[in-house]
Symmetry: C2
Subunit: 308 residues, 2 copies
DNA sequence: TTCTTCCATACGCTCATCGTATAGCGTGAC
DNA sequence: GTCACGCTATACGATGAGCGTATGGAAGAA
């Protein structure tokens, strides 16, 4: 295998090439790879020089793979995946042995639902160390190096090794301070989540729509954690996912406003992502989370407005 | 796949690790990889740091793979082989399109049998460019990036896509000048090939054995080309493979001496190593080589001593 | 035409990585 | 015991591979 080092000055060009092949252009690959465009160009050129064939046809619209390039691309994808998969397996085993459990959840869920329960969690699972993989916006696929993930899906979607966590319910919420103040001013400040359409407020409440009244304000956030923090600070009214805000509502740090809660018909589920044989501890933790959420929902019964 | 570049500062440690795993010790790997031992140590340590597990157990007798190390080793071997195989395939196709045919033969065969026929070869195959992969000593396996190889094997060994080239015949030879001189001096200078046992001369000739007569000399060479050059220069008597020396014997630049030729029972065969579908041009070239060798053998008939 | 977007090349600079030197350590011979 | 001989790890100074910035040319798009 040292043939590689003898023939190729570095292996980086292989990865850069792979990225460029996937991106369709050197410029795009540069962004994806966090290097400059000339660096991509040089890396690919070097690989072509060392192998002795053209891998791309340069067009003014981008770079297109040649036949040889396509072959090499597949080989690299396959070969590197083999290695990467094994590394993840090794890491998973290491985590398993160290009692580490990885969760893939939203930052806001951790900040406002999980964090206040960490002490209780540690009491229930003294040997478990949690590792949070925070996801920024909406979720795409399941990461492959995580044990347990919270994902939102249609209620009909079932999956092996998963548990119903909580139905997806959203409702307008604000801090008690803001709730008191808004009665006197009559104006509203909306804290809007970028992922939502602006007309979502129509369905969700009988609040006046943003922009409908002179003096209404609408701030927009693309990070739900920050948005919620603003709501807690009394900056305005936010749409709150029950899965995130249940504890805040119970602690009266947020209060429902507008008299409605909307059940989207989708559900949050806990999914056991473990590739190999299922770990008992993962199921135990999932059960524990489900129980806590059940307690929340029961306690919220008297507080919540009727769901629509 | 850019995950690789994000997590690992360089891919070299993977190759160094693979080499160390195969070598069994960092020092040995350093030699095989042509880098210093501390560099191996650093590379492996870095990989261990980046993956987060120990890959070797350091012993004073060397370094032994841990379980994780063994897993990773297999993955790297497999993954890199995938890539390397594809690269060779691409290169082979490139050679094919460019009319390049690769031969794996001994340096002495090229120097003394093939080279004098290159003009004739080009006349017969004007579009073919030859690429010689010279092998130093005895042959191990077949290289996988070559079209045609000359290999010595038992006469019974048959192989798909191969042609009988010439029986393995060895006979003592010397330059005409040396042949004339030795009659007067009575002493002998032996040009011995390191790969041979010294007593090979017993079987091969009725020459006086090296060391048996006062004044006899025995020089030893581990490169057959150089040994043959020395024989051509009149430096002594050498054991000549007919497959290499036939042209030299025909041109009277070497003459048989000792009155015997030894047929080992083995044969040189031409083997089509092409991995994919057989190339017609390869078979044509093999045929051409066989014909030339046949002509040699026929013309040598009156010159050669009886074979034993 | 002009504008935009793409890739290739030139040019310094910097930092990752190398080799040398050396220390530490375990093992086996005597 | 202790000496010698492997092995690997660490320190340190030097260097060159590879980076980013700046720029040029070519090809579509407006």
């Amino acid at each position: 295998m040292e043939e590689f080092s003898q023939r190729f000055s570095s292996l980086k060009p292989f990865l850069v090439f792979e990225c460029a092949a996937r991106s369709g252009s050197f410029s795009a690959a540069a962004k994806a790879f966090n290097i400059s465009q000339p660096s991509v160009s040089r890396n690919v050129a070097q690989l072509e020089r060392e192998i002795g064939v053209a891998l791309f046809e340069r067009r003014s619209t981008g770079a297109e793979l040649t036949d040889a390039g396509r072959e090499l691309f597949h080989a690299i994808t396959q070969g590197m995946s083999t290695i990467l998969r094994t590394i993840k397996q090794i890491e998973r085993r290491r985590h398993e042995e160290a009692g580490v459990v990885s969760l893939s959840v939203s930052g806001s869920f951790v900040a406002h639902w999980m964090a206040p329960r960490l002490a209780a969690f540690t009491q229930a699972f003294p040997d478990v160390r949690l590792r949070f993989h925070l996801i920024s916006g909406m979720v795409r696929g399941l990461p492959d190096d995580v044990d347990l993930a919270v994902r939102t899906m249609d209620a009909s979607d079932q999956d092996v090794r998963s548990w119903d966590f909580v139905p997806e319910i959203v409702l307008p919420v604000c801090s008690p301070g803001y709730a008191a103040a808004r009665k006197s001013t009559g104006n509203e400040t909306f804290l809007h989540f970028s992922d939502h359409a602006h007309d979502i407020w129509n369905d969700m409440s009988d609040l006046c729509l943003p922009g409908q009244l002179e003096g209404d304000v609408c701030h927009e956030f693309d990070d739900y954690s920050v948005l919620l923090q603003a709501a807690l600070d009394g900056s305005g009214v936010a749409l709150g996912w029950l899965s995130v805000t249940s504890k805040l509502l119970l602690d009266r740090r947020l209060v429902p406003v507008g008299g409605r809660a909307h059940r989207t018909g989708r559900v949050h589920r806990l999914i056991d992502c473990g590739a190999g044989p299922s770990r008992d501890i993962v199921a135990d933790i999932a059960q524990w989370l489900v129980e806590r959420m059940k307690e929340d929902l029961a306690a919220l019964e008297p507080i919540l407005p009727a769901t629509t």
